[in-house]
């Protein structure tokens, strides 16, 4: 373990400890805000697995979010399953859907893949709007939870899972396969890598997190309908957060989610108009000035990170 990864690990552990204790001393508003940050941190971490590490620009993540949300809702409402069991089933179904769709779609490359995933998501939205079991276009009311702090911890769980995935993935055998496929699929194949199973692994991991977030989201908001959960906005936000923080890095997507959600909250309070312009402008600026995210900017300049590390080392003596 290098000093750098040790430092980051220690930092992450400290942040986790603060996060666990946070609802004890923070007010309801801030707990709700943090729950939303974790939710998008998990989505961005999930997108990073397929879009960042694997290089497959998925725009259909909301398909899995919707599957997770509806499975959880239906099982709680109609089968009276406890939330945890319904959520587990939602995550599992999202994974199954990803394996099925991934087998078909992951043969495509680049923007063909992006469009196909978006199409898949829109198809599911139409299906959900027309099935009796989902309540169709009028949506579905879930049972109301007795307390809301548990949602904070559920979402914290998903973001921790996402960050752990992002940290372990690149150091694993599968992570090497994924990186090689992203960099040069033809070269990867003649070195013994069968690409499709590894791409499906990344896609299904992404789907598991989107599905879990969807299930928690449904119970948290107590109402879901097709346009709310099968919503491309989830994917777009996850993409922008990942690009902001640094695609293909372990903690970049989480950092992107924290920065963006806080900025977004402040701007919404100042002006609804500004808040709408903000996302579009940010995407343009990111693509032009920092296409590989803040992590790369920091690495290149070295300034802030090195300064903090020097500070830490000085204080140890």
């Amino acid at each position: 373990m290098t000093p750098r990864t040790f430092g980051l690990g220690a930092l992450a552990a400290a942040a986790l400890a603060v996060a666990v204790a946070f609802p004890v001393f923070a007010g309801g508003y801030y707990v709700r805000l943090a729950t939303g940050i974790f939710m998008f941190g998990a989505l961005a971490s999930a997108w990073n697995l397929i879009g960042g590490y694997t290089g497959y620009p998925d725009f259909g993540g909301a398909a899995f979010l919707g599957i997770g949300a509806y499975t959880t809702g239906i099982l709680m409402l109609r089968a009276h399953l406890p939330f945890a069991a319904a959520l587990l089933a939602g995550g599992a179904l999202a994974v199954l859907a990803a394996v099925g769709m991934g087998t078909l779609l992951l043969r495509l490359r680049g923007h063909y893949f992006a469009i196909a995933t978006l199409g898949f998501m829109l198809v599911l939205r139409q299906v959900a709007a027309n099935l009796p079991i989902t309540g169709g276009g009028s949506g579905m009311n879930l049972p109301i939870a007795s307390a809301f702090t548990p949602f904070y911890y559920w979402m914290l769980g998903t973001v921790v899972l996402g960050a752990l995935g992002g940290a372990i993935f690149p150091r694993s055998r599968a992570g090497y396969a994924i990186a090689a496929i992203r960099e040069n699929q033809d070269a990867a194949q003649v070195l013994g890598i069968e690409p499709l199973p590894y791409k499906i692994l990344a896609y299904a991991s992404n789907a598991l997190l989107f599905g879990a977030v969807g299930g928690i989201y449904a119970y948290w908001f107590t109402f879901i309908d097709p346009p709310t959960v099968f919503n491309i906005d989830f994917s777009i936000q996850a993409v922008v957060m990942t690009l902001l923080g640094g695609p293909g890095t372990a903690l970049g997507p989480v950092a992107g989610a924290i920065i963006l959600k806080i900025l977004d909250t402040i701007l919404t309070n100042i002006s609804l108009f500004l808040h709408n312009v903000f996302f579009g402008a940010l995407v343009c600026l990111l693509i032009i000035f920092a296409p590989r995210g803040l992590a790369e900017v920091l690495r290149r300049r070295g300034g802030i990170v090195r300064a903090i590390r020097a500070e830490l080392e000085d204080s140890r003596v």
């Binding site: 396969a177 990186a179 040069n184 003649v190 070195l191 890598i193």
Partner: protein, 247 residues
């Protein structure tokens, strides 16, 4: 004992006959040179052997296993490695990570990432890239990228190694170093098929030379005899390019 046996292998691209009923036997331990003018079908033949493209007809058998229908990854795991004419590095990975990839995915893979990286370091030392192991592959020069291609192929622990113009663009001194390295590789028991424009290199290195012209095999024998073959002289040496020029 033939390691690779190609029987009447043919590849058509539309109406173009890229490889035309080529018979080829490569014995274990041999160094076979494969030469021919531009467009003779050399790289296509390598693509057929490594499963990048399926042959239109004919048979390919490697150590008793028919290669027809096998995907490139499966053929690689059987023990056939190749280098590309234009280097195909994993650009945003370090040199050592590049070489760790095949070590993790060959038939008897390294036990884990740590072991694969250790092994990659040792292989990089043998090809002279040891000092640059932590460089990003993006930062390598053309000769270094060639060495990286070779290192990746070796990390697959192949029995047959197909080298597609590894010496193109190298200086004469670099060519000599490359020849010495390929001899060492062969001495480890790895059979070599060397596709080359640099005739001096092929003639000096190969036990046997095969000449392709318009997709057909027009000569197959010891280097000294092949260079005197009137058909070869007419087809290939008659309009040879300056040695060292890449194609």
């Amino acid at each position: 004992m033939p390691l690779l046996r190609a029987g009447a292998v043919t590849k058509l691209f539309g109406r173009l006959v890229a490889v035309d009923r080529v018979d080829l036997v490569i014995d274990a331990g041999e160094i076979v040179g494969l030469i021919g003018p531009n467009g003779a079908g050399k790289t296509t033949l390598v693509n057929l052997i490594t499963g990048i493209e399926p042959p239109t007809s004919g048979t390919l058998v490697f150590d008793g296993t028919t290669l027809a229908g096998l995907r490139p990854a499966a053929i690689a795991r059987l023990g056939i490695a190749r280098t590309f004419q234009i280097a195909q590095p994993f650009r945003n990975m370090t040199v050592r990570q590049n070489v760790a990839v095949p070590a993790l995915f060959r038939a008897n893979p390294a036990a884990g990432v740590g072991q694969a990286l250790g092994e990659a370091g040792a292989i990089l030392d043998t090809v002279g890239l040891g000092p640059k192991r932590e460089f990003s592959a993006r930062a390598l020069t053309t000769p270094d990228l060639r060495r990286l291609e070779l290192a990746k192929a070796l990390a697959l622990r192949p029995r047959l190694l197909l080298l597609d113009e590894v010496m193109a663009g190298l200086t004469p001194a670099e060519v000599d170093a490359e020849i010495a390295m390929l001899r060492r590789v062969n001495a480890q028991g790895i059979t070599l098929l060397v596709i080359e424009h640099v005739l001096r290199a092929v003639m000096g290195l190969s036990h046997r030379v095969v000449v392709l012209h318009h997709g057909r095999k027009i000569a197959d024998g010891p280097p000294a005899r092949v260079v005197e073959d009137p058909g070869v002289i007419a087809a290939y040496l008659g309009n040879r390019r300056p040695a060292g020029r890449s194609g």
